[in-house]
């Protein structure tokens, strides 16, 4: 039995998430680890008797995505998402099927082999932050 296809989706709200499949996350060597950072949102107050009271708010998650071998067109697709300048829908089948509201908080790219002109592949790193 063939493995089910796993994709990473990122697209505008209301655009139909299935239409916004990102380029395959390509890697060399080990499997992708999709690094996740959780930023708990809490506040603390010291009371009259020096005890503490805590307020818990919804945590904010950051997801990292990376590509090593993008074509120029694939790279442009990613840059077009940044150009939308809006909150996006995100789903990563490699982790689970939950959809999140996110925005692109950082993005960097460059040639995969900087000293090999004419080798048309690019690397890119993107961080998504929960909106």
């Amino acid at each position: 039995m063939a493995c089910p296809t796993k994709n990473v989706y990122l697209g505008p709200v209301g655009g139909g998430i299935d239409a916004e499949i990102l380029p395959k996350v390509k890697w060399v060597g080990g499997a992708p680890d999709f690094p996740t950072t959780i930023d708990p949102q809490t506040e603390e107050a010291t009371m009259s008797d020096r005890s503490r009271r805590l307020a818990f708010f919804d945590s904010v998650e950051d997801w990292g995505l990376g590509w090593g071998y993008l074509t120029y067109d694939q790279l442009k697709d990613l840059r077009d998402l940044i150009a939308l300048r809006q909150i996006l829908k995100y789903r990563n089948d490699f982790v689970d099927n939950t959809e999140y509201d996110v925005y692109i908080s950082s993005f960097s790219s460059g040639p995969t082999f900087p000293k090999m002109r004419g080798y048309p592949y690019y690397r890119a790193d993107m961080t998504l932050r929960q909106a």
């Binding site: 009259s48 008797d49 503490r52």
Partner: protein, 770 residues
């Protein structure tokens, strides 16, 4: 306090919270939740409620929203409907809450209205702020003649004198003649003073006859006079009436219509300065009584500073007057005084001012004892039909007037609807004459009503109007009103707070008999959401000297709950009982929503006399301990001290003349020397015509002095992340303060006097009670 169920007190007080807030606006009949745009730390609410003084207090709010991309900017057409959300007058709701057991709960803290939004383009923010419904009262202005509470009666006017033969009868007739002799000329008239002044006969424009006099006063900065000499002969000691029509058609200068003795040039009578709105006809009238026989002249006199003034005069009449007895109009039994009088003398209803006006030819009076209205002697009144409209006061209940004001502000359609929505206690006060000065706001009016009965007015969290007494205490025990016992008195020397304690003395008890002291004022109490009943108790005998010493509460069906009381002889004891459980109760427990009386009852063991002293009854809504609160600050507020109280009430009588300036207001004053010596003199001056008798003024001087002569103690503290929905000026709470570890905690109680919400931290100001 707002209902919290199914949330529990333990959940509200838990040290870990998931706080929530909600900001909504009303757009196209739907509430739109904009919470996700609220910038962190920007939301603040100051609630309305009963404060120390009778001045109504408005709630206010402010918030800043993220406006990235100009989503809310009305000039950004691509963001409909967001770009239509923020406009002055938009309704707003702000709620604070938390998530408990996976469910979000919110309690509304203000229902307000948006002022003009403020857009910061550089910061991509929109700042919003506003008030609660109090804004409507502030914006509603009261105007004559609907600024009084009562009704009106219409009468036929009765002529004030009988006229004799017409004496204005120029030879050959002229343009101003009344009756059949009118002719197109002013042959008998002449210019007396100054060049450009003219007098001519013109075609009628006033609708009174065929011709009329035109007098153009144009003397280039000097006096202008026209006259008619030797109009007729008059007899010394006879009263004559002069009536004429006049209209100014151009210019701005006043004119006088005067009668002069021809031989001596002495002035015999005149109209006073006539300065009407241009192009409107009026009737002028006055009377005069010469002291010598002779002929008279008519002079029309005008001082023109710049430009010219043009007058039209017609229908001049001079006749002997045979005064009739002053006619007195009998007012309805419900009339408590006259507010406003209008008389139609052929030119529509015009006001007649009270008291004697302008040389005695104007004005009216009212004989309140016999409910009779009459015009000033000397005012010429012609007979008419349904032409006298007298607006008069009827007795009013303050809460009804407040409801009327709410309806006038557009918040309710009528008094009944406003009363149904309003949370109020009956004032049991009647006010004979209710009016507010023309131009004053409905908010001013509500303040005066609050001042009159020492009530507080505000809009609560749900925007329901609240009109309640100043004290949130169950009983301050400063008066015996509502209390019943064996021999009651107020002990002003031995007390825990306020003006005194309630003392019940039993001089000859019988062994085995019960001796109750009970409190049962009109109405019932809903204690279903209350926690404790607290009061102070003192007796000259310890509880062990009695067979039983108990506190009972009864509901309207006589079901009861009781608690046994313990105390030492001769010492004040703070009693604190949890309402939900007692030491015993009736087979059916009392319905805490319908409690109607409290009994503090002792069963005597022997015949030894004893007394009970009681003070400061309160029922509390919520309790905090030191781990629930922070930033505690206790202070005595001396700014509120008022140790001399002066109340000026209504005028006792109408002025006797136009020049009368001597005030005749009811006045009361009270002061306390001890407080003045200790804190310096601080005066409270109240000028409020709703105080309408001396006894009431004296009583309220004493009430306000007792309330303000001593400084109050307040406690401020913060409660972070706890959305307990306490109500400002309504709820009583207890809290505990404690210094360093190991010290003894001190229990405190007080009334919530201010609530400020800054996002998830709520700051309270509590007026401490003993």
């Amino acid at each position: 306090m707002q209902a919290i169920a199914p949330v529990t007190t333990d959940q509200l007080l838990h040290k870990g919270q998931r706080p929530l807030l909600k900001f909504e606006i009303l757009y196209c009949c739907c509430w739109v939740d904009l919470t996700s745009y609220v910038l962190k730390g920007s939301l603040s609410v100051s609630t309305a409620g009963a404060e120390m003084t009778p001045n109504p207090v408005a709630g206010d709010w402010s918030v800043a929203l993220n406006n990235k991309g100009g989503r809310f900017d009305p000039d950004e057409p691509g963001y409909a409907p967001y770009n239509e959300y923020f406009k002055a007058g938009r309704k707003v709701k702000i709620s604070i809450g938390a998530r408990y057991s996976g469910t979000d709960y919110y309690w509304r803290r203000i229902y307000g209205f948006m002022e003009i939004p403020n857009f910061s383009i550089d910061k991509s923010e929109v700042s919003l702020s506003g008030f609660d419904n109090m804004q409507f009262l502030s914006d509603t202005k009261l105007k004559e003649p609907t600024n009084y509470w009562g009704t009106f009666a219409i009468f036929d006017s009765v002529e004030s004198s009988t006229s004799g033969a017409e004496l204005y009868d120029p030879p050959g007739g002229d343009a101003a003649e009344i009756g059949g002799g009118e002719e197109d000329n002013v042959a008998n008239w002449a210019v007396k003073e100054n060049g450009a002044t003219t007098i001519t006969s013109e075609d009628d424009i006033g609708g009174f006859s065929d011709y009329e006099i035109r007098f153009i006063a144009d003397p280039a900065g000097r006096e202008s006079e026209v006259w008619y000499q030797n109009v007729c002969a008059v007899v010394a000691g006879t009263e004559y009436n002069v009536i004429f029509k006049y209209c100014r058609t151009a210019g701005i200068h006043p004119m006088l219509f005067m009668i002069r003795d021809n031989a001596t040039s002495a002035l015999l009578g005149g109209s006073g300065p006539l300065d009407p709105v241009n192009d409107v006809w009026h009737t002028g009238s006055f009377s005069f009584t010469p002291s010598v026989n002779g002929n008279i002249d008519i002079l029309l006199f005008c001082v023109v500073l710049t430009g010219a003034s043009t007058w039209r005069i017609d229908n001049i009449s001079i006749s002997t007057a045979t005064p009739k007895p002053v006619y007195k109009y009998e007012m309805p039994e419900a009339c408590m005084g006259i507010h406003y009088v209008e008389l139609d003398e052929g030119e529509g209803f015009k006001p007649v001012w009270p008291g004697r006006q302008k040389d005695g030819e104007e004005g009216w009076f009212y004989d309140s004892g016999n409910k009779l209205f009459y015009f000033a002697v000397g005012k010429i009144v012609e007979a008419g039909t349904d032409n006298l409209k007298i607006h008069y006061y009827t007795v009013q209940i303050p809460e009804n007037v407040v409801a009327d004001l709410l309806a006038r502000a557009g918040l309710y359609s009528n008094q009944a609807e406003a009363l149904a929505a309003m949370i109020y206690d009956s004032t049991s006060v009647l006010i004979d004459k209710v009016w507010f000065n023309s131009g004053s706001s409905a908010l001013d009016a509500v303040r005066m009503l609050c001042e009159r009965v020492n009530y507080r007015f505000f809009f609560n969290y749900g925007q329901r109007p609240v009109f309640k007494p100043a004290s949130a205490a169950l009983s301050t025990c400063d008066a015996v009103t509502g209390w019943f016992g064996t021999s009651l008195s107020i002990d002003t020397g031995d007390k825990k707070q306020g003006g005194g304690s309630l003392k019940d003395y039993v001089a000859g008890p019988a062994g085995g008999a019960w001796y109750p002291t009970s409190y049962n004022p009109p109405g019932t109490w809903d204690w279903s959401a209350k926690e404790y009943i607290l009061f102070w108790l003192k007796s000259d005998r310890a509880n062990t000297a009695f067979t039983n010493t108990r506190l009972y509460i009864y509901d309207t069906s006589s079901f009861y709950r009781y608690w046994n009381l313990t105390f030492l002889a001769g010492e004040w004891k703070a009693i604190n009982k949890l309402l939900s459980t007692g030491d015993g109760e009736s087979g059916t427990p009392p319905d805490l929503t319908l409690i109607n009386s409290i009994f503090i009852t002792f069963q005597a063991n022997d015949a030894t006399p004893f007394y009970k002293k009681l003070d400061a009854f309160v029922v509390t809504d919520f309790s905090f301990i030191e781990s629930h609160i922070t930033n505690i600050r206790d202070y005595e507020d001396r700014n509120e001290i008022r140790n001399r109280v002066i109340i000026l009430g209504i005028e006792q009588a109408l002025p006797e003349g136009a020049e009368e300036t001597k005030p005749s207001k009811f006045k009361g004053e009270a002061s306390e020397v001890a407080s003045i010596n200790k804190y310096g003199e601080h005066t409270m001056s109240i000028d409020n015509h709703l105080f309408q008798d001396q006894a009431t003024i004296d009583a309220y001087c004493a009430i306000y002095l007792a309330a303000f002569k001593d400084p109050k103690w307040y406690t401020d503290f913060d409660i972070p992340f706890n959305p307990v929905p306490l109500e400002h000026g309504v709820d009583t709470i207890t809290w505990r303060k404690k210094y360093e570890a190991g010290s003894t905690p001190i229990d405190q109680r007080g009334i919530v006097r201010n609530i400020t919400i800054n996002e998830f931290v709520i700051s309270y100001t509590i007026e401490k009670v003993a």
